[in-house]
Amino acid sequence: MSLKIMISGTGGQGILFTTRLLTGFFVGRGRKVVTSQIHGMSQRGGSVQSSVLVDAGDSPVIGRGDADILLGFEPVETVRALDCASARTAVFMNTTPVIPFVLSQQYVQKQGPGTYPDLAALGDTIREVTPSLFQFDATTMARDAGSSKSLNLVMTGCLFGTGIIPGSAGDFETWFRENGNPGQGEPNLRAWAGGVALGKRLNPVEQER
């Protein structure tokens, strides 16, 4: 069975690291993985999109409406990647915004909206495409676990916690402990555990199993 995951967020949120983690995990389980990354010129703060396709042929790009999962690390960036989603796509969205730098420029020059889009409206836009929208404050969960840099493990944990992708949370954790970055071990593992627990709550199907 093929699996297509789109990951979207901003520079510095760990999108490329998450891509490497998922890729390594699936390759380790004998699956064929193809990935693609688009990151602009900015070292920090720009939009970053990355796709992970498992057993889905050679094409590295996810077509319109073709994603099984959209993992949104930031609200505006989740909606920016929405073209890859359709009614069967599960969307995971971190609700903490990274404020685009242009907004303060718009504000002082009195050009454009100057404020961050309404979070509820962003959620409605997503729900017009798919009923499966899971929103949560992953940034605060990561901070509570000890480091905002662990955001990617909250997101990944949540994804595995729901059980909607092949491979259990336990399998991933074992793999991560052996192959992940030990430097930030403790906050990462706490963030991961928090994400998994949240994922289990999010998906009623998983709880009944």
Partner: protein, 610 residues
């Protein structure tokens, strides 16, 4: 940092590698001995990876000062018998055009591969030129991979192929190959490598006109040998036996292949992949003879399409050949699976896609921006304050290109690497105005030095600001000539004086007083004034020597009257406005102090340590 022995390119198990890493692995499997390169997205990771493993793998590696030197060193190493590779982005090969043009004439000895990555859609480039033209233009065999696995196989194939034909090979991955991961099956590294010896043979290596004319005749024979060898290669696989032909190259082949499967039309299609140039004529003629129409799926220019039209005409096979020239595909930008699907549906009369297009509301963009604490912002701020709005500011290629647009507005003209000084010279000569040019350290050594020599020779009326942040930051912190070499490093100031510049000063941009004084002097002066703004890239410093941090700043809400000045003149991403309140994001603030200096109300202060 990955330890060397664990580096993915040094492992022999099946792995998912990006195109850039697959190039490195392929070259190692071919026994590459000499590697050079100049960083340029999307090819930068080729050099970065070689740099990381060169010692472990026992190969010579250099980040060259520019692409011309990179091509020249790789060529000369090849003449000693070494298998050599140099890497750069598409534009870099233009800069190296002079040496590149004559290498096919002289011929190589050890296999030589030039990696020149294309960037369709200009994701990080100012143009999207099609490198495949180097085949017709300068006789290079061009390999055009469709996947990372192709990339590895082609790189490995290229070295012995280059030795047999004595032609350098141009490997042209595009951004979608360089930065895409795919499964590769590595093979063991070779036990032996080429013997190194420079054998004197001047008539062979010196292309004086009589020799060059002899070489030109030989070249024709070597090109024909290359075509024969490619005919026997795996670079033109064909799938299916249907009567509708599709011919595709590069990543567009992967898209076409996927779309054919998803539409379930495999029986109707014959799919031919074009992986190399020159395309052996027999491959096109055979294919045209077996199909009733041919749709060409290739990004950028219609090279395959034109070859097919020529082949059809010569063979009297007048079937429809569709592609860019027929208006089925656009002439610009990269393709996508969705685009290929919609064209294929039209060509096969399958009706419109059932997939709904989603209307996404307007979202705030995230254009690239100078980092918080970046010394370039500080330099730009001082320059603008002293030189004002009317002065013409010419800029160059590097992070400082981000001086473009408000609020810094320090980029009125931009063209290519090293061009700021020459542009400033000519604009000042024709307008009679004093013009300001910006250039970074790496770009200055790359191609700014000759332009400055030129400006000094003609005593042009310019102020040159060299923004020395000690590193090539934009492409991922590769060392420039002045990086981490301590007292061994060349002195930009001495070099500039050595060229004859009289008014030269080095300042720390964070020393406002010294910076403004230097700029005022330069503004009042005539002729060439050079100011070297010397301050390290904050991100690179942090990587080299993690600091406890300069501490972040805070805005006193009692004192802030919302005058907008800090946001209006600095454009620092760490300063945000929420519900009319000006705030500093502690995660982003680098503690550079510039906003505190700018604030008229004295409302911005370093945070007391908790």
């Amino acid at each position: 940092m990955i330890e060397n022995h664990r580096h993915p390119v040094l492992r022999e198990d099946t792995a998912c590698l990006t195109g850039n890493l697959a190039i490195v692995r392929g070259a190692l499997e071919a026994g590459v001995q000499f590697v050079s390169g100049y960083p340029g997205t999307p090819a930068s990771e080729v050099g970065d990876t070689f740099s990381a493993i060169a010692d472990t793998a026992g190969i010579h590696f250099e980040y060259s000062i520019n692409e011309k030197i990179s091509v020249e060193t790789a060529f000369a190493a090849s003449l000693t018998g070494a298998r050599s590779l140099c890497s750069m982005k598409h534009l870099g090969l233009n800069f190296a055009g002079d040496p590149a043009a004559t290498i096919p004439y002289v011929g190589v000895k050890g296999g030589m591969v030039i990696v020149s990555a294309g960037d369709p859609s200009m994701i990080t480039s100012p143009n999207e030129q099609d490198q495949r033209h180097f085949n017709g233009f300068l006789h290079y065999p061009v390999f055009d991979p469709a996947t990372p696995s192709d990339t590895l196989e082609m790189t490995r194939f290229a070295f012995p192929f280059s030795e047999e034909t004595r032609l350098p090979v141009l490997l042209r991955p595009t951004t979608r190959i360089c930065h895409s991961g795919g499964m590769v099956q590595p093979r063991p590294l070779p036990k032996t490598r080429n013997n190194i010896r420079f054998e004197k043979d001047p008539p062979r290596y010196v292309p004086t006109p009589p020799n060059a004319r002899r070489m030109r005749k030989e070249l024709t024979g070597r090109i024909s040998l290359a075509e024969d060898l490619l005919l026997g290669s795996d670079f033109f696989p064909r799938t299916g036996t249907g009567k509708t032909g599709i011919v595709a190259g590069g990543v567009a082949h992967a898209y076409a292949s996927r779309v054919i499967e998803e539409l379930g039309v495999q029986e109707r299609i014959s799919l031919l992949k074009i992986g190399a140039y020159p395309i052996p004529e027999m491959i096109l003629a055979d294919f045209l003879g077996s199909v009733e129409s041919a749709l060409v799926v290739e990004e950028l220019t219609p090279i395959i399409e034109e070859k097919l039209i020529i082949s059809a005409f010569r063979n009297g096979r007048m079937i429809p050949i569709l592609g860019k020239k027929s208006g089925h595909f656009p002439l610009e930008f990269e393709y996508s699976p969705d685009l290929v699907e919609s064209v294929l549906r039209k060509a096969l009369d399958l009706g419109e896609s059932p997939k709904k297009s989603i209307s996404i509301p307007e979202l705030p963009p995230r254009p690239p921006v100078l980092c918080p604490g970046c010394p370039h912002r500080t330099s730009f701020y001082h320059v603008r304050r002293v030189f004002g709005q009317k002065t013409v500011y010419v800029n160059d290629i590097g992070c400082y290109t981000l001086g473009y647009g408000p609020p810094l507005d320090c980029c009125d003209v931009l063209l290519c690497m090293g061009s700021s000084i020459s542009k400033a010279s000519a604009i000042s000569r024709t307008t009679g105005e004093r013009v300001v040019a910006f250039i970074g350290d790496s770009t200055f050594f790359h191609s700014g030095l000759p332009a400055l020599t030129n400006a000094l020779q003609y005593d042009d009326n310019i102020t040159l600001c060299i923004l020395d942040n000690h590193v090539t930051a934009m492409t991922g912190f590769q060392p420039s000539a002045v990086s981490d070499r301590g007292p061994e490093a060349p002195s930009i100031e001495k070099a500039v004086r050595g060229l004859g510049a009289k008014n030269v000063v080095s300042v720390d941009p964070f020393d406002s007083e010294a910076s403004v004084e230097a700029l005022k002097k330069a503004r009042a002066g005539t002729g060439v004034n050079v100011i070297i703004f010397n301050s390290p890239c904050v991100i690179y410093e942090e990587k080299l020597r993690p600091r406890k941090g300069r501490g972040s700043y805070d805005i006193d809400q009692e004192l802030c009257d919302g005058c907008t000045l800090c946001v209006r003149v600095l454009g620092c991403p760490a300063i945000t406005i929420e519900e009319d309140k000006y705030l500093i994001d502690p995660d982003l603030c680098d503690g550079c102090d510039l906003c505190a200096q700018v604030c008229n109300r004295n409302a911005i202060h370093r945070k007391a340590k908790a």
